[in-house]
Amino acid sequence: MRVDGTLAILDRWGRAALPGTVLLFFVLLTLAPLRAPYLSDTLPLLPVLVVFQFSLAAPERLPGPLLLAMGILLDLLLGGPGAPVGVSALGFVLVRAAVMSNRRYLVGVPFLFQWAGFCILCWGFVALVWAFTTLWTWALIDPVPAILQYVVVVVIYPLIAPLLARVRARDPLNVPELSRGSARPGETTP
């Protein structure tokens, strides 16, 4: 049931805009001059965490074209001379697609499973960006900093993910089709 009234409308708008705003904030945070050792090196990977977590919790509020735009913005802001523009966008879109097609293994399962899923998908993202940057600049880039980034972001995942997971719709019976796990009662996974 939809309730009309200024507050209700504001509430709906706020809910719809929240994931995109949080993602934009994390993209900007990537450039913030934090001086914390290790943490500041991993900032570029935090948007991946946001994309993963929101694709789990509220994919209908984080549509693909928005991810494309955010990825290109991230590449424009971060990239140096010669770095490919759009590789993060490609990564974001693929992470979302991977989460969407594996919902039955990721939604409504213990936290450890989600963490493992993030480990796998984030590894794919890092490998993709590294491979494309290497191809694009046609120079062998030392993969160790990228791997360090990956390790740190995987380690801090349990700190940030539960916070982001709170954007889920309040009533579990009333969630939109997209946000539900695809497993049906009584169904067993092959």
Binding site: L28, L29, L31, A32, P33, L34, R35, P37, S40, D41, L43, P44, G64, P65, L67, L68, G71, I72, L73, L76, L77, L78, G79, G80, P81, G82, A83, P84, V85, G86, V87, A89, L90, V93, L94, A97, W130, F132, T133, W136, T137, A139, I141, D142, P145, A146, L148, Q149
Partner: protein, 300 residues
């Protein structure tokens, strides 16, 4: 009526197709962006600069509280070691005073000799002070964003210095923002001199905290502790800005530690030396052939 029904049928079919191939379309769009970036570097450069200009006020708002917090933490840490620090500084002060005397004497002597030899000075350098509003550090890039741009006279290729020494050079310039590429970046090539022997070399970054000295005529002449300064070749950098000191000379490779502490940069100065023409516009249009000892980025 029939036409309208047909239209609706077609529209719904299109919608189904778009939904079914949404992922494919997005992937193609991402590849398209990459290809455009490869084909039209100038367009991408404009987009970068625009994005920087839009974002830099926001970043500045974020950067201030972060800077205060960092300073507070640094203050606390220094408070703990105040006594030793004082003793060390007193010692250093005594040593520096001796150097000052020597420098004064040499300056006078130098002036005298110059007037005797009718030596013509190079162009006078002026400085633009800037605040670091953003880091541009990732696994593939070492740089930062500054809150000054074309409006106050910043141009690509200008040197960026701190109190300790050279930090990098300006790579991209917007109206009110610019991006500096640190000397530690993998794209950075800097013509330098070994101060003691006056030998020319190229100082190259590789994204690690240490720099590599390459194209040196003879490695044997370099010792640990030698200071490395800019040579001024390429035109846009003043001569003699300290860059770093040699910390390691082993089988064919010389490693240099930069004087600038990149982890705690807050304010920098952009050196406007008057001549930037020789280097071109940096990343936007890399020179097809790198000028001898130039600082242009790797040509593509």
């Amino acid at each position: 009526m029939a036409i309208r029904d047909d239209f609706e049928v077609v529209a719904s079919q299109v919608r189904t197709v778009v939904q079914r191939f949404a992922l494919g379309l997005l992937v193609i769009a991402a590849f398209g962006a990459m290809l455009v970036g490869k084909a039209d570097t100038v367009l991408v450069e404009h987009a970068r600069v625009l994005a920087l200009d839009v974002v830099s006020p926001v970043l500045e708002a974020i950067a201030r509280p972060v800077a205060y917090a960092n300073r507070a933490i640094a203050d606390l840490r220094e408070f703990a070691s105040l006594r030793e620090e004082n003793a060390r500084l007193r010692e250093e002060n005594a040593r520096l005073l001796a150097w000052q005397t020597a420098a004064r004497r040499l300056e006078n002597e130098n002036e005298g000799l110059r007037s005797l030899a009718r030596f013509r000075e190079g162009p006078e350098a002026s400085f633009i002070t800037a605040r670091l509003v953003g880091d541009s550090v990732s696994a593939y890039m070492r740089g930062a964003l500054l809150n000054v741009g074309r409006r106050v006279g910043v141009a690509p290729g200008q040197a960026v210095v701190t109190g300790e020494g050279l930090a990098g050079r300006i790579a991209e310039v917007g109206e009110n923002s610019s991006r500096v590429l640190f000397v530690t970046d993998v794209n950075s090539r800097l013509p330098v001199l070994v101060e003691r022997t006056r030998e020319r070399a190229i100082l190259a970054g590789d994204n690690s905290p240490r720099l590599r000295l390459t194209l040196l005529p003879s490695i044997a002449g370099v010792q640990t502790g030698d200071r490395i300064i800019t040579s001024g070749h390429g035109g846009s950098f003043p001569v003699g800005i300290p860059v770093g000191e040699v910390v390691e000379t082993s089988d064919g490779s010389v490693r240099v530690r930069p004087f600038t502490d990149f982890s705690r940069l807050e304010f920098v100065r952009v050196v406007d030396y008057g001549v930037t023409g020789l280097v071109g516009t940096g990343a936007a249009a890399p020179a097809p052939a790198t000028p001898p000892g130039g600082t242009a980025v790797r040509s593509r």
